[in-house]
Point group: C2
Chain length 255, copies 2
Amino acid sequence: MTYKVKDVAETAGVSVRTLHHYDQIGLLKPTSTTDSGYRLYTDQDLERLQQIMFLKELDFSLQEVREILDTPGFDRMQALASQKKLLLEKRKRLDAIIDLVDKTLYTIEGGDLMAKKEMFEAFDMTEIERHQQQYAEETRQKYVRSSAYQESQKKTAGYSQDDWAVIQTKANKIYQNLADLMDYEPSEPQVQEAIGQWRQHITDHFYTCTLEIFRGLGDLYVQDERFTANIDGIKPGLAAFMCEAMHIYCDRNAE
Amino acid sequence: MTYKVKDVAETAGVSVRTLHHYDQIGLLKPTSTTDSGYRLYTDQDLERLQQIMFLKELDFSLQEVREILDTPGFDRMQALASQKKLLLEKRKRLDAIIDLVDKTLYTIEGGDLMAKKEMFEAFDMTEIERHQQQYAEETRQKYVRSSAYQESQKKTAGYSQDDWAVIQTKANKIYQNLADLMDYEPSEPQVQEAIGQWRQHITDHFYTCTLEIFRGLGDLYVQDERFTANIDGIKPGLAAFMCEAMHIYCDRNAE
DNA sequence: ATAAACTATGACGTTACGTCAAAGTCAATA
DNA sequence: TATTGACTTTGACGTAACGTCATAGTTTAT
């Protein structure tokens, strides 16, 4: 089933000009065109337009939207889950603004004076922008890790049971060493040394662990509860400790 | 207490450029300036800036914001109450978008197909824009009525008790006539004739009842429960009947 | 007295379209 | 079948709300 430009405009509640603009910037190119150059859109195009509208609703620029949607390995379901988080964050801010209206009314009616800062803090976009950046960063990370995953699949395909045993033993030694170092600050040399060993271990046996991947991996250790549970099983708090140490390691090696 | 431009920018979380721009377009002019031309803002300026931010949050253009705030008789408390309604409407739309994310996820997971229209209806701004226009219209109406009120005060200041009795009797006759006509369509000539008499009555004894005021008055009869209760006391449903008839009367006399 | 921080104004650039014009194509109608 | 209305194309100018930059003056801290 295909749709012409006016069909899409009416269905989506946007203007024809908008669709022309999206075509021109490469954000939403119709799947095909007629011999006369008429744009023909498909159901997939409508799905992409819906994603565009979700992301616009979250105040991403059109360039950011395109980058997100064009990321190799873009997963619509995961994206929707993340977008929901952002939308909930936006609603939270809106709730704060509504609450501010009530507080302001109370102030006018002779209630306690409101601090100047409080008059405006609900409008703040910092938290939302932080989530936006985090979302964009997660999207990019998933792509980067997707490449690493493929490298890893290739590498480990030829591993025997003996190979796996050796690798697991090595990994356990590094984990245990790090667990023993938890009384130290994550920035201490011996902790950083062990973290370096962990990174090398991954590179030797799985995939090229760039600093970017390594940093994201650290985040994953505390964000993904399966990782957290697994690592904390060695010693409670180890996942957070490793995450922090990995970030410091990456900061220091970034340049 | 006065604040310089940087103080205000930081307190409100806006840029200095924004404040310059607002000054230039007459939206937020600092209360005073130093001999060197430095802008000095006061607490009142901060209050106006807060109103600006509420209205910006509701997607009014800066010109619309200025018109609203510069309306003679602008009442901050009433404005806040109306803005809260608009904010709640905006949250309602946001809730619909969040719900759409869930529905879209369900669809992807193999649930029932979603109609194309349904994919986009949550993004619709029609209802919000309608509320926006209504809010702007209400603001303008209050001003218009404020002028009429002053004329009315002037006129009725010299009325004696006998005058009031005559006026009341006339009014009751018109109300009763309209009550008797409720079986007719509001557009019927005899209804429209009675409505015209009502308008003339107001102009003769209170204030110049323009079509604009008359139309807004009709709305007031159903929106303000005190009016509704008073008029419906003559016959239930009379307020709504009059409102509709007044609108038709105004439509016909508009040109 | 000097340097850093802050402020002023002017001006160019950006984003995301809206609006308009001119011309071609498609579909409905006489 | 010809004509007309509806729809579509591309190009281009305009708009709103600032961001960013440059230049120069003023205020504040050292």
